[in-house]
């Protein structure tokens, strides 16, 4: 695998396989997260406000696992995608604040 560096040099990396271990863990983790969410709702009888908050927390964790492991954002050399995704979240967040705050509250 060759990499063009910005100073013009070409560096050869040894392609080191991490093996599937981390991906298996991530896969199990995301299934567990989904299962907890489903189980909480299916069990019933749980306080609604608590359920909503729990589901939101599960959802955020799920997004982080998906982005980090499956979209490779945890790996090196993904700074530009991270910057652009953060920018997207920022702009989308602004729109939501505007819609909610200045129009309906």
């Amino acid at each position: 695998m060759t990499d063009h560096h910005n100073d013009g040099s070409v560096v050869r990396h040894r392609h080191r396989h991490e093996g599937p271990r981390k991906h298996v863990i991530a896969f199990i983790f995301s299934i567990v997260l989904t299962a907890i969410a489903f189980a909480t709702v299916a069990a019933g009888g749980v306080n609604t406000a608590f359920t909503v908050i729990l589901l939101l927390v599960m959802a955020v964790l799920q997004v982080l696992v998906q982005l980090g492991y499956w979209m490779h954002l945890k790996d090196k050399g993904h700074m530009i995608p991270i910057v652009f995704m953060a920018g997207g979240f920022f702009v989308a967040g602004l729109c939501i604040i505007a819609a909610l705050y200045w129009m309906w509250w």
Binding site: N6, D7, G8, V10, G87, L94, C95, M103, W104
Partner: protein, 629 residues
């Protein structure tokens, strides 16, 4: 690498319809953008003819509304943005030492969707009336209650299709600049125009989704009977204003940042000096883009957001003057002590600086929320945004076109005609719009088709109209200049200005289709200038001569855009009663929409199945042509 595919080479019209070469797409963008710029200009002149005397009946109120709407929409979306894309396409791959953009197929698709979106929008003139809700299409003016023709449908669908092209173009330039810079070109060695293109593309990526959503909501309101902006049924017209300006304000920076880049290149080249404060220029560009997303509500001070919101947006707006000021001073310091050549390109750049400062100052005045209650919807606002868009962007585009014309076409534009064109245009511009500040301050309202006599408006309106025609003369001289230049033989030297600093001047004018025989090694900012100062006549290559991989020409982007055009036209008339059963049947049952989308998705499937590996130019062919890179 050894598999040299034979490629079908098209000639004539077919060559232009199928090209994926960024240099040819640049010319397509320039021609189409120039065409729409001309239409927008004619609309502007008709507006000025109507306003040259009080109580004029040259056009009706309805026609006036259509003219102002189409003038604004055409100029911004179909005139200047494509010309910006023309210059970006012509210059960016050359400036970063690349052989094409990252996605040549998408580049072609972006152009054709823009063209067919623009044609659809302008078709409205012949199909029952143009949109009449202003270029901002504020609800409820744009609702079916107040705009009964299909005009606004042409606006929503046409802009949707054209906007697709812009979004595609923006993503393409982001990918190109991130991944395809020549060896050695770090981010902080990129030429300033590449930087501003990069930041502009990022802004397109974040801003255009907002208008996409807004246009979908508006077309659903109008065509499918939704109520997003209908107060009676729980909608909110201010929602449209938020969505429009969340896009709209970044959009004006999308327009002006490339002009900043062009001016930076031109001023530096013709002062024979390195750009003063390069890193602060980069910082200022990014800061302007960042702040540009946080000021949209300054277009809405009078909607009653309350003093806290107004104060916040007023302060954020005024903050933008700081990075913009950094840029102005950097250009002045670049010129200071330089060996300045005032040719046409540099005249336009030098004219840009004070003109843009005037637009910036009135921008800060408008940003002061209490004062804005007075300025709002007067000609003061019209004067302000024409100072930044015409006095800023259009002067920048003229500068860039004169500067890069030899690189695009291999011919230098005539200097004498260029200077006449500059003086006619800039004097006409200031005559037209400087007076409009005062017209606004003494109370003349914008978007009203006429005015009463003896309010002190009469004389200034006459002068304003004369100025508008002077600008028209300036543009015609530019066209004559192009026609005369086109008759001269092509093929000027690599660096016709003699002072080129960046990579595009290291290769032939116009460049061969693969741009660089060998990718250049970049050893610093202003890479070509650095080599010249080291006594070299050409760039140091970063790779041996080898076969060059080229993308194949394809008609698919064109066909896809035709499909979208048909689907858009069909969608608009789904609830129309044509008084003709056959037409009613095919339109009201979505048959036209399905046909159009079928063409588009069918082309996508064909493109996906067809595994096109492109073709190669072999080293022998390159040497045979005797082209040195």
């Amino acid at each position: 690498m050894a598999h040299a595919h034979s490629v079908k080479r098209h000639k004539g019209l077919m060559d232009w319809l199928t090209t994926v070469d960024h240099k040819k797409i640049a010319i397509l963008y320039l021609v189409a953008g120039g065409f729409f710029f001309g239409i927008g200009g004619i609309e502007a002149l008709l507006i000025r003819v109507q306003l040259w005397k009080p109580m004029s009946t040259f056009v009706t109120a309805q026609q006036f509304n259509e003219l102002i709407t189409m003038h604004g929409t055409t100029m911004i979306f179909l005139g200047v943005m494509p010309i910006i894309f023309a210059i970006m396409n012509a210059v960016i791959p050359l400036q970063i030492g690349a052989r094409d953009v990252a996605f040549p197929f998408l580049n072609s698709l972006g152009f054709w969707t823009f063209l067919f979106g623009g044609l659809l929008l302008n078709l409205s003139w012949f199909m029952g009336g143009a949109p009449d809700g202003g270029w901002t299409a504020y609800a409820p003016l744009s609702s079916t209650t107040y705009s009964t023709t299909h005009g606004v449908d042409f606006y929503t669908i046409g802009l949707q299709i054209a906007g697709l092209g812009t979004l595609i173009g923006g993503i393409n330039f982001l990918a190109t600049i991130i991944t395809m810079r020549a060896p050695g070109m770090s981010f902080m060695r990129m030429p300033m125009f590449t930087w501003t293109t990069f930041v502009t593309s990022a802004m397109i990526l974040f801003a255009f989704p907002a208008i996409t959503v807004g246009l979908v909501l508006l077309s659903f309101d109008r065509i499918l009977g939704a109520n997003f902006f209908n107060v009676e049924l729980g909608g909110n017209p201010v929602l449209w204003q938020h969505i429009f300006w969340i896009f709209g304000h970044p959009e004006v920076y999308i327009l002006i940042l490339p002009a900043f880049g062009i001016i930076s290149e031109v001023v530096s080249t013709f002062s024979r000096k390195r750009l003063f404060g390069y890193s602060s220029m980069v910082f200022a560009t990014i800061l302007i883009a960042f702040l540009g997303f946080m000021v949209w509500a300054h277009h809405m001070f009078t909607t009653g957001m309350g003093p806290v919101a107004n104060a916040l947006f007023a302060i954020a707006t005024m903050l933008i003057a700081v990075p913009t000021g950094i840029k102005i001073f950097n250009w002045l310091f670049t010129m200071w002590g330089g060996q300045i050549t005032f040719n046409t390109a540099n005249l336009f750049a030098a004219g840009f600086i004070p003109t843009f400062v005037m637009g910036g100052v009135t921008g800060v005045m408008l940003g002061a929320a209490p004062a804005d209650y007075q300025f709002h919807d007067t000609y003061f606002v019209v004067a302000h945004f024409h100072y930044v868009i015409v006095g800023g962007l259009v002067l920048g585009l003229f500068s860039g076109l004169h500067y890069w014309w030899p690189k695009m076409f291999g011919r230098v534009l005539n200097e004498t005609l260029g200077k006449i064109e500059f003086w006619t245009f800039i004097i006409g511009f200031h005559l037209t719009f400087f007076l409009q500040h005062f017209l606004g301050l003494i109370g003349m309202q914008r978007r009203v088709y006429t005015y009463l006599p003896n309010q002190g408006f009469d004389m200034m309106n006459v002068l304003s109209t004369i100025g508008a025609f002077l600008m028209g003369v300036g543009v015609i001289i530019f066209l004559i200049n192009i026609a005369i230049t086109a008759r001269k033989p092509s093929g000027v030297e690599n660096d016709p200005w003699g002072d080129g600093r960046t990579l595009e001047w290291a290769i032939p004018s116009p460049p061969p289709e693969y741009n660089f025989k060998q990718l250049p090694l970049v050893r610093g900012l202003d890479a070509y200038w650095k080599e010249k100062m080291a006594g070299n006549t050409e760039m140091t290559p970063a790779e041996p001569v080898g076969p060059i991989h080229m993308p194949s020409p394809t008609i698919i982007p064109f066909v896809m855009s035709v499909g979208l055009f048909i689907a858009g036209l069909g969608f608009m008339f789904t609830t129309e009663d044509f008084g003709n059963s056959a037409l009613n049947f095919i339109f009201n049952n979505y048959i036209v929409v399905i046909l159009g989308l079928g063409i588009t998705f069918g082309s996508m499937i064909v493109h996906s199945i067809n595994d096109d590996e492109g073709w190669h130019i072999e080293p022998e062919e390159i040497d045979g042509k005797g082209v040195e890179a």
